[in-house]
């Protein structure tokens, strides 16, 4: 019985007790208590490597909301396992590093490790989940834990701003992804990813294919900081360096890659996917590398470098997806190396980038600055750190004997193969890929050199540093050293990695291809004088030349004006949006009740008129036969009274006219055979008029005149429209008496209720409940009036407990 599905939960459960540990055992750094978790998880996952390599993935499902098909389903195959190992392995190293990086006296470690564990669990959840709703949940949880971690030092404004930016962009992507996933769920009628893959042909044929693809990709691109959504990653560098090493280079940003890889069996093979994924990846690779060169903050340089490297991986995934177009046949062999390259670089990038971030952390910790203009000549001061930096950067630059060289070569293979494809219009555009790849690699080489040599070589300027220390504690050196040794290890023994981890993962991305044994060559350092090798040599040569003359051409960067950058666009967009929204809201929410009422009445008129016209529901059944003279007179007097209320300039006159109207209504009731009504109306109207007089005539300081009512065209139009609609509907309703009313029942009121006055019987018996509530209303109004008069909190001394 395997407990793999519980692995996701363990970090969450442990996170509950971390604050308690921090509170009660502050003398030992809390990190020591947290460290065992990822270590144990890593070892447990490593056990599964052999199973998965033999193509027996781990599948388990725990019901959560089975009525809706939302279950906590786990599916661990090669692809998921790679990610799982990276998350737990690098997690362990990062925690060890953080023990020495974060001081246990000054930092709120309870919070830090809770957020970190939340993230770890969430990330494992993303890669291990088979149910898209659960995947979405963990996806958003990674965004949220990243938000909390970026703003860890929440007193700083820049931290808060960076966190908000990351949150907005990634959650926006998350929502888009949700929409895409729900579309897929609608098409394939399941929430399980495996099922969706099996029913992939339903998706390709569906009209919503492109939309769901784009939405899904939006999710992936935002999370993996692809162009143009990359702008949150540099700001995310506000987080403590261990977090930058963990989330924003090795794990969270790779979640988008996971998504693309996981869904390639469904979307791969289509031209749109091919161009979207590889295109965006390529642009990002170029842009990231290009921007990294000009950075002066080491962390920002690494951030842009990460953006570029992620672009590279995604580009490769896009290029490799063309294999799906062919199916598991010989022609597809061109494309498979790209997928292999992507996954290989995924692992490699985690090793060298993690190492480099930790090196930057060491530099920052020991010298107090990350600005390369102030650093220099640290080689002698920190030789070990220097070695680690060299290993990391040279690997990133693609030089032997480091694993980066292998993946760079494989990358070039991928783009060269792709340029030889003859589908998807690659005949025309194919050459673009190797060319851009080559140029981007040059920039990569340059900034790697900048990183190493500007920091460690060159002039030592101690006066510009905050503090001067030598090598850091062993706990800060060990993790990057482990990673650096992996860098070298993977160079010398790539086939170990390939056989056990990479090929099973390729099988997940391109199902059915690996079994077809399409003869992909093993990953070796020396393949002969291939075009790839020539490209690499070219990169090194040109790169060295450019690096040596750096100060001559780096001026070009200054020519790009600030407002042209996307970052600026985001910042100003946010501000401008808020201001525009404010203007809009203030525009219609004027605070004047007459405006609000105008909107309301106008809405009624417009919609009802529209409905009446659309449905042709006006009907008119003239039966004005029994109109007698005194009725006409009554009507006439009523109109006059109403007009007097409207037009009078004297308060008293208006009030009296209103009273007259009320009495006229009573007269109408008499005519219409409603004696009780007439009586009630008379009484109520009298009391109301008295109230009016009390409130409005006998107040001091009120002038007797209230001024003319004034004419406002809009008001008049709406009022006329409204009256017209009321009349029209009334006429139509009268002519459409479709059913006999239920009143015949009440005519037996004497037998049923013992009453001869039917209306009374209805009020007190048949519908007595209404009357009870009506009396309650009267009662509430009465008490309310009393309260209004008596309780005046403004004028009394307000007690402090008020509000």
């Amino acid at each position: 019985m395997s407990w793999l599905y519980l692995i996701i939960l363990i970090p969450f459960l442990y996170a509950v007790i971390v604050p308690l540990i921090f509170k009660h055992i502050p003398q030992i750094h809390t990190g020591w208590f947290v460290l065992p978790i990822p270590v144990l998880l890593f070892m447990y996952l490593a056990k599964y490597v052999t199973f998965v390599a033999m193509d027996s993935p781990f599948i388990h499902s725990v019901p959560w909301i089975p009525s809706l098909g939302i279950n906590y389903a786990t599916y661990v195959d090669g692809l998921a396992l790679i990610f799982g190992l990276i998350v737990t392995g690098i997690g362990a190293l990062v925690i060890l590093y953080s023990i020495y990086y974060l001081s246990k006296e000054r930092e709120a470690l309870g919070n830090f490790y809770v957020y970190l564990l939340l993230f770890m669990g969430a990330m494992l959840g993303v890669v291990f989940s088979d149910n898209i709703i659960v995947l979405y949940m963990f996806w958003e949880l990674t965004s949220i834990s990243s938000f909390l971690l970026i703003a860890y030092w929440y007193q700083r404004k820049s931290s808060r701003y960076g966190a908000q930016k990351a949150l907005l962009i990634t959650i926006f992507g998350g929502f888009a992804m949700l929409a895409g996933l729900l579309m897929l769920a609608n098409i394939t009628d399941t929430f399980s990813i495996r099922e969706m893959i099996l029913r992939a042909d339903k998706t390709t044929a569906h009209p919503l294919f492109l939309q769901s693809m784009v939405l899904l990709l939006l999710g992936a691109f935002t999370k993996s900081a692809q162009f143009p959504f990359h702008i949150w990653l540099p700001d995310a560098m506000e987080a403590p360096t261990p977090i930058s090493a963990y989330l924003h280079s090795a794990t969270m940003v790779k979640a988008g890659i996971y998504l693309i890889a996981r869904f390639t069996p469904i979307f791969g093979g289509s031209m749109e996917w091919f161009w979207l994924v590889s295109g965006v990846g390529m642009i990002t690779l170029f842009w990231g590398s290009f921007s990294a060169v000009k950075q002066v903050d080491l962390k920002a340089m690494l951030a842009f470098s990460t953006i570029g490297q992620l672009g590279m991986i995604i580009c490769l995934l896009g290029l490799g997806s063309a294999a799906m177009y062919y199916g598991p046949v010989k022609e597809a062999a061109l494309c498979i190396p790209a997928i292999l390259a992507a996954l290989f670089h995924l692992v490699n990038h985690s090793t060298f980038k993690g190492c480099l971030f930790m090196v930057v952390g060491i530099i920052d910790y020991e010298t107090g600055t990350r600005d390369i203009r102030r650093l220099g000549g640290l080689m002698g001061l920190m030789p070990v750190t220097f070695t680690l930096a060299v290993i990391g950067s040279f690997s990133m630059a693609g030089l032997p004997p480091f694993n980066g060289f292998l993946s760079k070569e494989l990358f070039f293979t991928g783009v060269l193969n792709a340029s030889r494809l003859d589908i998807f219009r690659m005949e025309t555009w194919g050459m673009l890929f190797p060319v851009v790849a080559w140029i981007a690699s040059i920039f990569t080489f340059i900034y790697c050199m900048v990183f190493v040599f500007r920091t460690f070589a060159g002039d030592y300027q101690p006066q510009k540093l905050e503090k001067i220390n030598n090598e850091p504690a062993w706990g800060m050196l060990l993790p990057p050293a482990v990673l650096a040794s992996l860098v070298i290890l993977f160079f010398f023994f790539p086939s170990l990695l390939a056989q056990y981890l990479l090929m099973p993962a390729v099988a997940s991305v391109l199902p059915g291809f690996v079994e077809a044994s399409l003869g992909i060559g093993p990953i070796e350092a020396w393949h002969g004088w291939t075009p790839e090798l020539i490209m690499t040599i070219g990169v090194v040569v040109v790169g060295m030349i450019l690096f040596a003359n750096y100060h001559k051409w780096s001026r070009f960067y200054g020519y790009i004006p600030v407002w042209f950058t996307l970052n600026f666009a985001y910042d100003s967009l946010l501000v401008k949006t808020e201001k525009t929204f404010e203007k809009i809201t203030r525009g219609y929410m004027t605070g004047f009740i007459r405006d609000y009422l105008l909107y309301i009445f106008a809405f009624f008129v417009v919609v009802l008129a529209g409905v009446i016209l659309m449905l042709n529901s006006f009907a008119f059944n003239p039966d004005v036969n029994n109109v007698s003279m005194y009725e006409v007179v009554l009507v006439f007097v009523m109109v006059v009274a109403a007009l007097m209320v409207l037009l009078s300039r004297h308060r008293l006159v208006a009030i009296i006219s209103l009273g007259i109207m009320g009495y006229l209504v009573a007269m109408f009731f008499v005519i219409f055979r409603a004696p009780d009504l007439a009586l009630t109306q008379l009484v109520v109207e009298t009391v109301t008029t008295v109230l009016f007089l009390l409130c409005f005539y006998f107040l001091p300081d009120l002038k007797n005149k209230i001024g003319e009512i004034g004419f406002k065209a809009a008001n008049m139009a709406v009022a006329l429209g409204f009256g017209l609609i009321v009349t029209v509907i009334a006429l139509s309703a009268q002519s459409n008496r479709l059913f006999e009313t239920i009143s015949w029942f009440f005519e037996n009121s004497y037998e049923l209720a013992g009453a001869k006055n039917i209306v009374n019987a209805i009020l007190v018996d048949f519908r007595g409940f209404d009357t009870m509530l009506e009396i309650l209303v009267l009662c509430i109004a009465g008490i309310g009036v009393y309260t209004l008069i008596k309780l005046r909190l403004d004028s009394r001394k307000v007690s402090s407990k008020n509000r």
Binding site: Y154, A176, L182, F581, T585, M589, V726, F766, G784, R803
Partner: protein, 501 residues
């Protein structure tokens, strides 16, 4: 289908409680205990009703023994039962909050009785099966709200109260107009009977016109698109009252929309439900714009209420069984979370002494629990799983995206729904980032008010929210049953009209 006296209790208990407390208004402890007692009793009875409905089906009570449609009948289907339960719970928590916050003056001047009367109106609206009785119950609720919003009589309250009362008076009058028209055409007031007759007639143009009129009236009451009165009205009264308003008042209007558009007027969906869809979309958009624009807590929360209304109604507009279930899930989540949000916001205002975000900061240092509850509430409202909002949101969005829905797909509605979630998140995170994070501006002893007794109701509501999300499976059979009676009006009709008239 069974005459059940228990049905009337959720209405009678607060009524009697209010009257008794009105007599003994001088004794504040008595009023507090009695309020708690009343609400607990309502919760227990609602819970029992939910059980009864789930086992036996729809429960009715013919008042006075007069059979429907001649007399007034109270009807409890699962939707009503769930709403009664939620109302009782929210009432309980808000009254707990009021103990610590409303102030002695208001407590002595009938605050608790009026609150009970408000709940009477709300519960009555959920219970009634007669359209005119719905009007009267609305009026009970509204007049109580008029008094509550102006209770205390300070200047801001008076000013906003006038606007609130005038707009609501007009909407009530228009409700009567709609009832009058409907009576002319259909000749009855009982909802089940109306359903039968409207179906029989095929809902010709005149009935659709009246349906639209009633829909607009309910929209005015529930702040669907015609929400202009809401931000002002919710900013004026004290927190406990604003919370009740935010959680309950608009929801009764939404319930009326639910009921009329699923039970009675469901025959011409291209007009009625498309109209609802358009209004829902515009509500979410304008609500979102308002929420993003403001920098003071009260307004942000008020506009969030508006967004919530739009989202719930969008589920009704889409009108598939799954979307109605989603709308019900979201409905209850929204009630609980809005109450929580207002209570939390009110606590913050009380501590800082100001409403404006630019004047506060760093509260999380001294008020950790408050801060994290706010964070959870914000995520919940943005629909992040596994908190309370996500099931409703996912169901509604999924149904909106389904291209095989009853009419042309509501893609645009789903897209606007997601956009509104983003705006909800942005506006609420703005409060969190500016209010709770940042440099701490106020030392503990400089704070303007304390939080004694105010956190317990918030914790209760937060817990309820989390359970509603994580434990959604437990509640699913009930929500499904609620959806069932909305999709299949015959269940309701058969229960009420034991012989078809």
């Amino acid at each position: 289908m069974i005459m059940n006296n228990l049905v009337a209790f959720p209405l009678l208990i607060p009524l009697l409680a209010g009257l008794i407390m009105a007599i003994y208004r001088k004794s504040i402890p008595f009023q507090r205990w009695f309020s708690l007692f009343s609400f607990s009793l309502i919760c227990i009875i609602s819970f029992y009703l939910i059980q009864q409905v789930s086992i036996e089906g729809i429960q009715i009570l013919e008042l006075g023994g007069w059979q429907a449609p001649f007399g007034i009948v109270l009807v409890v289907d699962m939707l009503s039962a769930l709403l009664l339960m939620t109302t009782g719970f929210i009432g309980l928590t808000c009254v707990l909050f009021a103990f610590g916050s409303i102030g002695e003056e208001r407590e002595q001047f009938y605050f608790y009785p009026f609150f009970q009367f408000l709940i009477t109106g709300v519960n009555g609206s959920f219970l009634t099966g007669d359209l005119f009785n719905l009007f009267v119950c609305f009026e009970v609720m509204l007049i109580s709200s008029y008094v509550l919003i102006s209770l205390g009589g300070n200047k801001i309250q008076l000013r906003e109260s006038i606007k609130y009362v005038v707009i609501n008076t007009i909407s009530s009058t228009l409700f009567l107009v709609g009832i009058a028209y409907l009576y002319a055409v259909a000749g009855t007031l009982n909802m089940a009977h109306l359903s039968v007759r409207v179906a029989e007639s095929g809902q010709p143009g005149i009935l659709t016109t009246v349906a639209v009129l009633l829909l607009i009236v309910f929209s005015l009451k529930s702040a669907l698109f015609l929400f202009f009165w809401l931000p002002g009205a919710y900013s004026a009264p004290p927190t406990a009252i604003a919370a009740i308003f935010g959680a309950l008042l608009t929801k009764v209007g939404i319930y009326a929309i639910f009921r009329t558009s699923t039970l009675i007027f469901y025959h011409q969906l291209e007009i009625t439900h498309t109209l609802l869809g358009v209004m829902a979309a515009l509500t979410m958009l304008f609500g979102g714009i308002g929420a993003v624009a403001h920098w003071d807590i009260r307004n942000i929360l008020a506009y969030n209420v508006i967004i919530g209304v739009g989202f719930i109604v969008s589920g009704v507009a889409i009108f598939t069984p799954a979307s109605l279930i989603g709308a019900t899930y979201y409905f209850i989540h929204d009630m609980v979370m809005k109450a929580l949000l207002f209570l939390l916001g009110g606590t913050v205002i009380r501590i800082v002494g100001s409403n404006k975000l630019k004047e506060m900061g760093g509260l999380i240092r001294n008020h950790t629990l408050l801060g994290w509850m706010f964070f959870i509430a914000a995520l919940s409202l943005a629909g992040v799983p596994p908190l309370s909002g996500f099931i409703g949101k996912i169901l509604i969005i999924q149904e909106g995206l389904a291209s095989g829905a009853a009419r042309a797909g509501f893609y645009w509605l789903a897209a606007i729904g997601l956009l509104s979630s983003l705006m909800v998140l942005y506006s609420l995170m703005k409060i969190f980032i500016n209010g709770f994070w940042g440099e701490t501006l106020l030392a503990q002893d400089m704070e303007k008010g304390d939080t004694k007794g105010l956190l317990l109701p918030c914790v209760l509501l937060t817990a309820a929210g989390i359970i509603w999300g994580v434990g959604a499976e437990i509640f699913y059979p009930f929500v499904e049953q609620a959806g069932e009676s909305m999709v299949n009006p015959n269940l309701y009709i058969e229960a009420v009209l034991r012989e078809v008239v």
